[in-house]
Amino acid sequence: MRFVNLLKIALRALNNNKLRCFLTMLGIIIGVASVITMLAIGQGSKNSIKAQISEMGSNMLMIFPGSGQRGGVRQSADDMQTLKVEDYEVIRDNAKFVSAISPQVSSAGQFVNGNNNYPSQLSGITPDYLNIRKLNVDEGEMFSDHDIATAAKVCVVGRTVVNELFPNGENPLGKVIRFNKIPLTIVGVLEEKGTNSMGQDQDDVVLAPYTTVMKRVLAIDYIQGLFASALNENLSDEASDEITQLLRANHKLKDEAEDDFQIRSQQELSEMMSSTSDMMTVLLACIAGISLLVGGIGIMNIMYVSVTERTREIGLRMAIGARGIDILSQFLIEAIIISVTGGIIGILVGVLASWLVNVIMQWPVYIQAYSVLLSFVVCTVTGVFFGWYPARKAANLDPIEAIRYE
C-alpha cells in the first residue's frame, strides 16, 4: 500500500468534515499558541534580566573581606578588616585572568551644595572601576592616578546627585560640594544609566579616589572590598580561582585555614535571577502544556466519534480490499494531519500573539527556535498518541458487522 494513496484517502475523508476537523484543530491551535507565547514571554523576561545584569558588567567579580561566617556567628562585613591595599596591588600586578581591578571603600552621608543637600553614597575607587562597572564619564573627565596618589579632594558624580544638588541646571563641573565637611571638587559627571532590574538607581553615586575616602573621610587602613573584571565572561571562574590563590598567599593562610574573604561573581547573581525566571517559564509552559494535552484528548474524542460514525465506511473499505493496517494508517494519518496542521497554525498564532504582547503590553518577548520545534514535535506525537487508539479500534472492526452497521 502506497503511502501517497493513504494520504489521499485521509485528505479526502478530512475534506468531507471540514468544520469538525477545524474544531478539533482548535484545541491544538490554542495549546501550541499558548506554549509558544508563554515560552516567548518567559524567555523575553529572562533575556532582559540578563541584558541588565551584563550592563552592570557580566564578568564582574566582587571580593569582600571575611568568610561570611565564623564560629557559627555571622559577622558584619564592615567589621572585618582582612583586605588591604596590598591585596589590591598584588592582584593588579599578578593576576592573568583579571583585566581590571579596583579597591572599594564607601561611606554614606549627606552631600551639600549651598542650601541643597542630598543623601548618597561616596565610593572610593580607582579609574578602573569605570571599566568594571561599565560606566562612562559624560561631562568633564575621570580623576587621574595622580589624584589617587595624592588623595586629591575630587569627585565624579552621577546624574541623580547632580539633579538634586544643582536643581537650577547649573554646570556642576568645577563646583565644590561638601561631604562630612570635606570639600570635593566635581571633575566629571557620569553618563546616565537608569534603574537596574532590582530597582536601584544606578545614577545615585559619587565616586572619589579610594585614597581620599580612606584617609580623609573614614581614616582607615583597610579596604572594604575589591571590584574586578575577568578577561571575559567564560573566564570568571578562572579569575576567581586565581584571586583566591593570590589572596591566600598574600594573607599567608595555611592550607587548612578557611578563606578570610569571599568572592562573588556577577555570573552567580545572573544565575540566581535567571533561575527565578526559569521557574516562571516552566510554570507557564506547564499550564500551556496542559492545554495542549486537552487539545490532544479532543483529537482522541473526535477520532473515536468519527470511527463509530464511519463504521459502515470502514466496513466497505475492508470489503473492497483495505487491510487492517490500511485502515489504521488512514485514521492515524487523519489524526496526524489534524494535529500537525493545528500545530502549524498554532505556531503562527503563537508568534502573532507574542508580537502583540510585545507591541501592546511592551513586554519583552523572545521566540526561541527550540520552543517552535518542541511544540511541533509535541503536536505530532500528540496526534500519533491520541490517534492510535481510535485507529486501532477502526482497524479491528469486523468487516461483516461493520458493513451492515446502522
Partner: protein
Amino acid sequence: MSERDIIVIDRIRRNFVVGDETVKALRGVSFRIKEGEFVTIMGTSGSGKSTLLNILGCLDTPTSGEYLLDGISVQKMSKNQRAIVRNRKIGFVFQNYNLLPKTTSLDNVELPLLYNSAFNAKERRERAIKALDAVGLHERLYHKSNQMSGGQQQRVAIARALVNDPVIILADEATGNLDTRTSFSILTLFQELHARGRTIIFVTHNPELADYSSRNIVLRDGKIVSDTINEHPASAKTAYDALPKEND
C-alpha cells in the same frame, strides 16, 4: 460458455457460537460456479444466504469444508491475504450502496484501486471512467453521491465493483432498496454485464428475480434445497419496457 470453475465449494459448514449454544448457519453446502454464470442465491432470512455470501466474498471463513476461488484455496488465508483477494478478485454490490458520502462518482469508483499499489493515478482515472461508462453514468463523473438518486448510486456502486476487473461480482440484495422500475433497470444492467461475460452471484430473498438469472440456488436452514439451471432467462429489459411509464 467456458468451462473454467470460478467458485468451487465443497461441504462448507459454518457454525457460530452464541453464548453456550452453537448455531449451524451452513450445514454442508457444495456447488461449482463456472465462468460466465449469473447465479441467484435465494432463501428466506435465517436460511444462511448471508453467511454463504460472506464466505464467498472472503469476508468470513468456513468452519469446515473447501473453498476454491479462481483456483486458489481461500479458507487457510490470513485476514490480510483475504483482503488482497477481495481487492483483486471480487466486486461487491451492497443493498444500501455504501458509497462514500460527499464524494464524486469517480472518486468512489477509484476507491478499490487506491488499495492496489499496482495502479497509478492516471490508470485509476482511466479505469474508473471506463467502469462508469459501462454502467451508463459517463455524464455523471463528477456528481457527488448525495446528489444522485438511488438507482444512480447503485450504478456507481456497480461501477466500483467492476473497476478492479474482478473474477466475480457478488451482489447482496442489490435491488432491495429500489422501486420496481429502478430495480428492473439495475437488473437489466446486471444482465448486460452477464452478456458481456461477467460472472455474477446475486443473493436475494425475492423469488421473482430467479426468472432473470441463468441459474438459481435455493437455500433453506443452511442447506441447498434446489439448484436449477434456467436455460432461457427472461429479459429484464423487456420487463422494464413493459412497466407503466411514470408520467409525472
